[in-house]
Amino acid sequence: MAPISRAVIRPMMSQPPAGRRGPRRRGQLGIWRWVVLLLAGAYFILPLATAQRFAGLAAFSTVFTQPGFGAAIWLSAQLAIVTTVITLGLMVPTAIYVHLRMPRLKRLLEGITILPIVIPPIVLILGVLDVAPLWLKASQWLLSLEYVILAMPFAYRAIDAGLRALDLKTLTEAASSLGAGWVTTLWRVLLPNLGTALMSATILIVALVLGEFTMASLDLWVTFPVWIVQFDQLNAQMSVAASLFALYVTWVVLMAITLVGTRQARRFGRGEVSLFTVTANSTTVGES
């Protein structure tokens, strides 16, 4: 009620801002915004609500004690951490170097980082399993290496957006003229100002690793998603409870990261950490 009536009143009360947005258009936008929000909300919440109803509340208390649950969660957490470290360790210096020294290669790098989206994971994993040496195939860290490739498009775009928002050249030159070497400049000047971007990248990588199924199951590792599918055959109710549990935990973690990041970013006068901003950036994949 209130939002709609406000949207109707607003055009009469407020001065239209200069530019394209006239008062009429703005009013329509207000109504449509709520319509879309309601539809999208229903789309997201209905399945969750039915799943929650199916699982029942009792399943939540026993899900933690199910066989294999702890091991699967632990494996997924390890993979998430290692993947994040490797991805950021590779992508941050590469992106900075290309932005600073080889700006002409930016488009090429963008193209390369999209490849994992274009190539289906099943193709990737079959190829990897074909060429990887046995000792690596026997290790869970092979999965991490595969996830690094999968995470590349999202991580690169998040970092790239952060770098574009900085006057990279001037900041590095200023640091250099004051006597800072490369490592110091990276550590004290660039990374602190990329906080928002690194946070976004981390969120995307963690979410990706915690939800990936194809590669893990073909690599024969029981990560959390694989465990859910396997356990589903034993006890569907418990399996749904586990999925919901994972979803809620992920939400809480992401919210916490976003809140901390935003507080930090506000202090330095930067934008807010928002998953939606990152999504908006990664949708430009097709255009670039």
């Binding site: 001037t170 030159e173 003229s177 004051l178 800072a180 330095f268």
Partner: protein, 370 residues
């Protein structure tokens, strides 16, 4: 107090800087073409020129951000070509805001000292002194985004000076600021620079900035120095037609150059101070707005097209017969009688020697500077 900063800095001040035949090409474009310049210890030299003339490249080569293809840069008599920017001990203020967004004003100023491993207490004390020196002691704890553009550049200046640089490099530090702040800050920079005696190279495209701040101004064009001189000399005795027109306002009036060293224009024959590259025949006579006289006269040689009130004087634009537009400075009381559209007579006082240049060609001359 600020005095201790000054006392500490005068010891390191007074480094000379020399550019010797410095050449730098970007692809087929010669950004610097065998440029040589000597800056005396404690001197402020401004490099002035249109965009793309190579002035910024020269500064960046001195800073160590660019390498020269040929030639050398001497600081205190020593060739610094092999020394990376981080170890050249040069303070630099950039055109765009360059403060580190994640650090407070105080930490920004203290950054260079931190790199020099100064103790935290010393660093903070000295950073606070420098902030006080630029009048921002009360902003020490604020982050760059909480400061105005002018304040940010003052912090950047304090940061550059905190390391007691051998040379201070200013890369159009005022161009992003609004007019009033720009004038205040340029006075502040000049005062500080003179107090500290830091050798300074200042790059700008704004002639007013260059002329008001610098001990000497180097006018650049296409990678070459056209002239290096004190502001007054640059204005009154420009070495080339380019300098004559780039610095200050200059009128071009068609005239006839005689072999005896006189030139005839506006029905007057006057001595020539410098004929530059012109040969006898039809030439352009170069005269400043204050070098012409104008009076209301029916049936004169021109029509007033506009007036710009500058305070005590008014600059009157007159369209002469033959489609030549000139600007003439007259006292504002006299200018009151010269409404746009009225007929006037523009004359050339015969006593003062004038400058002469080859006939104006549209593609060669720079855009007239108002």
């Amino acid at each position: 107090m600020a005095t201790s900063v000054i006392a500490g800095t005068t010891e390191v001040a007074g480094t000379s800087v020399s550019l010797r035949d410095v050449t730098r090409a970007f692809g087929s474009v010669r950004a610097l073409d065998s440029m040589s310049l000597d800056i005396a210890p404690g001197e402020l030299v401004a490099l002035l020129g249109p965009s793309g003339c190579g002035k910024t490249t020269a500064l960046r080569i001195v800073a160590g951000f660019e390498q020269a293809d040929a030639g050398e840069v001497l600081v205190g008599g020593q060739d610094v070509s092999g020394i990376p920017a981080a170890r050249r001990d040069m303070g630099m203020v950039f055109q765009s805001y360059s403060l580190f967004p994640n650090m407070s004003a105080l930490d920004n100023v203290g950054f260079g000292l931190r790199m020099r491993k100064a103790a935290p207490a010393t660093r903070r004390k000295r950073a606070a002194e420098l902030l006080e020196m630029v009048g921002l002691a009360d902003r020490a704890g604020q982050f760059p985004h909480q400061l105005s553009g002018g304040q940010q550049q003052r912090v950047a200046l304090a940061r550059a000076l905190a390391i007691e640089p051998r040379v201070l490099l200013l890369d159009e530090p005022l161009s992003a600021l609004d007019a009033k702040v720009r004038v205040q800050l340029r006075e502040q920079i000049r005062t500080l620079q003179q107090r500290l005696g830091t050798t300074t190279l200042f790059v700008t495209h704004d002639q007013e900035e260059a002329l008001s701040m610098a001990d000497r101004v180097g006018v650049m064009r296409s990678g070459k120095l056209e002239q290096v001189a004190e502001p007054a000399e640059l204005y009154s005795r420009p070495a080339t037609a380019f300098v004559a027109e780039f610095v200050g306002t200059m009128n071009r009036i068609p005239g006839q150059l005689a072999a005896d060293g006189t030139v005839t224009a506006l029905e007057a024959t006057v001595p020539v101070a410098d004929a530059h590259d012109a040969s006898p025949g039809t030439v352009d006579v170069l005269v400043r707005p204050e070098g012409l006289a104008v009076a209301a006269a029916d049936g004169g040689n021109g029509i007033v097209t506009g007036r710009t009130f500058l305070g005590a004087v008014t600059r009157v634009s007159v369209l002469l017969s033959g489609d030549t537009e000139v600007r003439v400075d007259v006292s504002s009381t006299e200018a009151a009688a010269m409404a746009p559209g009225s007929a006037v007579r523009v004359t050339l006082p015969s006593a003062a020697p004038v400058l002469v240049a080859g006939r104006h060609t549209a593609d060669e001359a720079p855009a007239p500077v108002a």
